[in-house]
């Protein structure tokens, strides 16, 4: 009797254990399969413009003319690539000093006020949807640039400005974590030698946390590089290399956003758009790789 109850019990908890293991394993397998198929599909579609349509690498990466409807059609993606890099790099250049100052303020200068006002403000910025950034950019930044500089106000400068605000939270939170994680002895040692706060920050704190600060910058740049709608709304979408920062331009994401819906799946133009997506994906790999490299440096 007791024996049989023990046996039933045994079976029951083994089934239970098994259920848990199978369920969680299935979830992780599904996640892994999804990631692999994502990479696989984007890669195969992205390469088909080279393989099926016989467009040369040189034409896409070197061509400065994007005329998919022209005779003969031209698929130079260089304007988009330049647009993407210039907006995201410029955004990072604007946001990096701002975010590092914000982090220094929150950790080193006025932690109380920082945590009470700045931190919630930044967390909220992180939650604002990108289309709202685009809308504000379109109604505030673009008219502002239009009044000051020649041109329509649309362009790389407007795109980079919007993006820099979008990536501020990412950069600031990583910089804050890095600064907060510094061992207190490090700073005390410097103060004990009679250094002022700024000397301590400039000579000890910032150099020590530099890899971590760079991680934040790269992650911010990665986000800026992949952002689609906010940029598309303020950049003007002219498929050429602009002569100034205030002239209409395009990025990889804006080109995809704008044209993907108007092309037929499998057509040459459609395939080239997938190639642009492939470039975005490869850049994601590059960014993750750089971040990992920097993290390893930071942990050393």
């Amino acid at each position: 009797m007791a024996q049989s109850r023990e046996k039933r019990k045994l079976k029951q908890h083994i089934i239970e254990e098994w259920t848990g293991k199978v369920f969680t394993s299935l979830c992780i397998v599904l996640l892994v399969v999804t990631i692999f198929s994502l990479v696989y599909f984007v890669a195969t579609k992205g390469f088909s413009s080279f393989i099926k349509n016989g467009i040369s690498l040189g034409e896409i990466f070197g061509g400065t003319k994007w005329k998919p409807e022209g005779e003969p059609p031209l698929f130079g993606a260089l304007p988009f690539i330049i647009g993407s890099f210039s907006t995201s790099i410029l955004a990072a250049i604007i946001a990096a000093p701002l975010s590092i100052c914000a982090a220094l303020f929150m950790v080193e200068i006025m932690p109380k006020i920082g945590r009470k006002y700045l931190q919630p403000a930044i967390e909220l910025l992180a939650g604002i949807p990108s289309v709202v950034y685009g809308f504000v950019g379109l109604s505030v930044i673009v008219p502002f640039y239009r009044d000051i500089f020649p041109g329509q106000g649309l362009g790389i400068a407007a795109g980079a400005s919007v993006l820099s605000i979008m990536i501020l939270p990412t950069m600031t939170s990583i910089a804050t974590d890095a600064l907060a994680a510094l061992p207190p002895g490090l700073k005390e040692g410097s103060y004990a030698l009679g250094a002022t706060r700024w000397q301590t920050l400039a000579r000890t704190v910032i150099p020590t946390t530099l890899p971590a600060l760079m991680t934040g910058v790269v992650l911010g740049m990665a986000r800026a590089f992949g952002e689609a709608l906010a940029v598309q709304m303020v950049i003007g979408n002219a498929p050429h290399i602009p002569k100034s920062l205030f002239e209409s331009a395009s990025t990889l994401t804006s080109a995809i956003t704008l044209s993907m819906g108007n092309t037929v799946m499998g057509s040459v133009q459609n395939n080239v758009l997938w190639t642009l997506a492939l470039i975005l994906m490869l850049m994601t790999f590059v960014f993750v790789f750089i971040v990992r490299f920097l993290e390893r440096r930071a942990n050393r």
Binding site: R5, E6, K9, L10, H13, I14, E17
Partner: protein, 252 residues
């Protein structure tokens, strides 16, 4: 000759390359208190934790040798650890009640092991709390959070929780060392009561405590057992020089 409840044969524990427990063979008598003493890092807690296969949880830990309960070697990978742990209770250094009510802390185990009847559960809760000398203090507030109890009460609750699933062995890992002297004395009293029904193996670094509560004592040093004897012998007439040095406070 007393009944043997549990015995180890050549039990070793490795953490990666490091061997924390070195081929220990001990017999533990049933319904007795056995104390494991020794300086910190001597492997006594590691040894204790391998008796209910708790070391399985630590990544990189490897346990060799045999642990016999009755005619079953429970260090066999085929052993069902869930059933095993039901037979061996455990109490830790820091009280770790579940973040649940006092009642739930006790009823949680038995309910899982198949007792659904509310009356039966109530009875188990009362019995366990009574055995742990906590019933009088808690009977009017069984539905309050276990975290509202004092440290000493929490520790007795943890003891009550482990006896609620009716184990035959209770492992205690320095159960009184995080408590104040009064609570600590209460735990010792409790141990003296509990050994009528359970076999108790207790790790302690408090030698007076070992002398007070246990019948047998094993002295651990660097992962080995130097001496294992009746407690009275260990403390009055140790046969090994190192034991003598330790209990007279020359090191440790």
């Amino acid at each position: 000759m007393q009944n043997i409840e549990l015995s180890t044969k050549d039990l070793s524990v490795f953490y990666g390359e490091k061997q924390a427990v070195k081929g220990i063979s001990l017999d533990f008598a049933s319904r007795q208190v056995t104390a494991l003493i020794g300086p910190s890092g001597c492997g006594k807690s590691t040894f204790l934790r391998s008796l209910n296969r708790m070391n399985d949880l630590i990544g990189g830990a490897r346990i060799t040798g045999e642990i016999w309960i009755g005619n079953e070697n429970i260090n066999d990978p085929k052993t069902d650890v869930v059933l095993l742990r039901q037979k061996i209770g455990m109490v830790w250094q820091r009280p770790n009640p579940f973040h649940k009510s006092i009642y739930e802390n006790i009823a949680f185990g038995p309910r899982y092991h198949g007792i659904r009847d509310k009356k039966k559960l109530d009875q188990i809760v009362e019995e366990s709390l009574t055995k742990a000398a906590l019933w009088e203090e808690t009977k009017d507030r069984l539905n309050r959070s276990a975290l509202s109890l004092s440290g000493g009460q929490q520790q007795r609750l943890c003891i009550a929780r482990s006896i609620a699933v009716s184990p035959s062995i209770i492992l205690m890992d320095e159960p009184a060392s995080a408590l104040d002297p009064i609570s600590s004395a209460k735990i010792e009293e409790l141990i003296a009561e509990l050994k009528r029904d359970y076999s108790i193996i207790i790790v302690t670094h408090n030698m007076h405590q070992a002398a007070r509560v246990s019948e047998k004592t094993a002295f651990f040093l660097m992962g080995e057992v130097v001496e294992y004897d009746d407690t009275s012998n260990i403390f009055t007439n140790p046969s090994d020089k190192r034991t003598d040095d330790y209990i007279s406070g020359r090191f440790g």
